[in-house]
């Protein structure tokens, strides 16, 4: 299991780096899906079987597909970005990478400076998760539902286009 954790972890990190650095948007997304799958393995190893399944189904399966759809709709996959192949000049990434490195250093300092001895991990069954979700977190689920509704209404409104009418305020623009 430990080996699985390390292998999945390395794959997750490498594929995430690839996802962030690829110039081709579709490639980046595919790497990201790999990264999410690896993350799912990590979650599984950590004992969260339910979450691992959700990671695959919702994150890699649903959300990422949405991204792919939009990229294909806008047709910005390959060529537009290819033209700027040399986009990854050091000037652009060195600052952000440095910042992220510092942030990571700070966080690892905090993580590794634990006064308490390392606790062990244990498996949390999907059943307990489900029960807690619908008892203790019932109101939370309700709020999440409202949140999704707000998202749907917002996306519906914003996605709507009709060319002929123009807002009176915007005639000047």
């Amino acid at each position: 299991m430990l080996i699985a954790f390390y292998i999945a972890g390395v794959i997750a990190v490498v594929s995430t780096i690839m996802a962030v650095t690829r110039s081709n948007a579709v490639h980046a997304l595919l790497y990201l899906i790999v990264s999410f799958l690896a993350a799912a393995v990590v979650l599984f190893v950590l004992g969260a079987h339910f979450a691992a399944a959700l990671e695959v189904i919702v994150y890699a399966g649903a959300i990422m597909v949405l991204f792919v759809f939009v990229i294909m709709m806008l047709n910005i996959g390959g060529e537009t970005e290819k033209a700027k192949e040399r986009w990854l000049v050091p000037k652009r990434w060195i600052g952000p990478a440095l910042m992220a490195a510092i942030l990571f250093a700070i966080l690892s300092y905090a993580i590794l400076n634990q006064p308490v001895a390392t606790a062990s991990l244990s498996i949390v069954e999907p059943k307990t998760v489900g029960i807690s979700l619908y008892t203790q977190y019932l109101l939370g689920v309700e709020i999440a539902a409202v949140m999704l509704m707000a998202g749907i209404i917002g996306a519906f409104h914003l996605g709507y286009t009709k060319r002929k009418s123009k807002h009176r305020f915007l005639k000047g623009e």
């Binding site: 008892t135 709020i143 999440a144 707000a150 409104h157 807002h167 623009e173």
Partner: protein, 480 residues
Amino acid sequence: MNNLITSGELLQLLPFITMLAGPVLMIFLISIRRNHTFTWILTLLSFALTLAFAVYLMDKEPYVSPLLTIDRFSLLYTGMFASAGFLVTLLAKRYLDNLSERREEFYLLLLFATLGSSLMVSSNGFASLFLSLELLGISLYALISYIHRSGKAIEAGLKYLILAALSSAVLIFGVALVYYETGGLSYSSIGTYLSQHTFSPLLVAGIGMIIAGAGFKLSLVPFHWWTSDVYQGSNAPVTAFIATVSKGGMVGALIRFFTMIHGTEYQQVVLVLTILAAASMLIGNILAVRQNNLKRLLAYSSIAHLGYLMISLIAFGDGGTQAATFYLYAYFATTLGAFGVISILSDSQGEAEELEKYKGLFWKKPVLAAFLALIMFSLAGIPLTAGFAGKFFVALSGVKADLWLLLIFLAVNSVIGVYYYLRVVVMMFSAPKEKTPASDNSSTFSAGYIVLGLLAIIIIYLGISPNGILSLIGSAVILP
């Protein structure tokens, strides 16, 4: 299943249910037939009912569940947000009338956003806080870009979305670290843990990230970047909403969090908050000094005002929370008023955001100009306005907690503030450059004028006799 909701608890949740029932009803109505005015009235009704229920529940038993605590404190804030939402709705009507279609969703989103903000204050743990924060956020993304044929609105919406999601990620990562360390998501369990253990680096990092995420919503320096662009890009009623309700929710949530964990007893927390407050006051005011766009000016001034408010949050005990809440009231009234004026003046030429447009306003619309002058005086903290009383209480709480450095910052910054607030006033009184065409459809804004009249009364009332509100706030204790 002893945790399912009983009918008695449903009654206690009424203010929130009202804000939910309104949209549900509206969705049904929209699916049958769209009617702007009717939806508008329904929205107003929902807000009014929310306020009424909040007032009604004030003296009833508080509701405590694993996720929400509905006590007098949260009801006070809910009432405040509902009133602000009511006023924003009044202002928005004319705006949306100019939109040819699809006007009704605005009100749904507005109600959702207000609900999110109210739930933030009622949250007694990070799970519900995160959810309600995102409910607010997601409604706001769409509201900001609501008039989505404007490039500016889309730009503002996207900027806000990316940055808000970024800061949400930071906040929630911080929460994860805190949870990892303490084993609890509710404030009370974190508080219990803290009272028994020392502050470990991981916990400090977690709380630091939470403060950073909260600082984004409050637009504290250095998390303030979005403020001016979003204020400018979104339409004036929504800007008023962002400036008030969305920030107020976070202030309330922070107050509850710090009360439960006794956050201001830890010098790391105090140090970080002090630096954020000082930087916000200074940078906010400096950015506003020569700003020629009224919306951006108000954005920067709101950064500074949240900085002032932070003083009382840091001072905390001895009326600090009361001062913060009172300051929020004053800030709500003033900010809503300012954006009310902007939305009344906005016309087919676009948003009235350039200061140049306000040149000689006194000669064309004396009532509006006088009102805006009152707003500016209140923002500048001239006595007998709400702004003065708020600043007075904030300063008083700072004095009691011996926060002299911050007080000196407050004093210096209010001088800078006076400069640009008066600049607006002087602008309105100076002679207009050229003869502007007679103002159009000035009689149809009666709803807007009602809002302004109400706010003027509130601003002066809070300045002359703040006692009533103050004792109300004083009675609003936070339940564990």
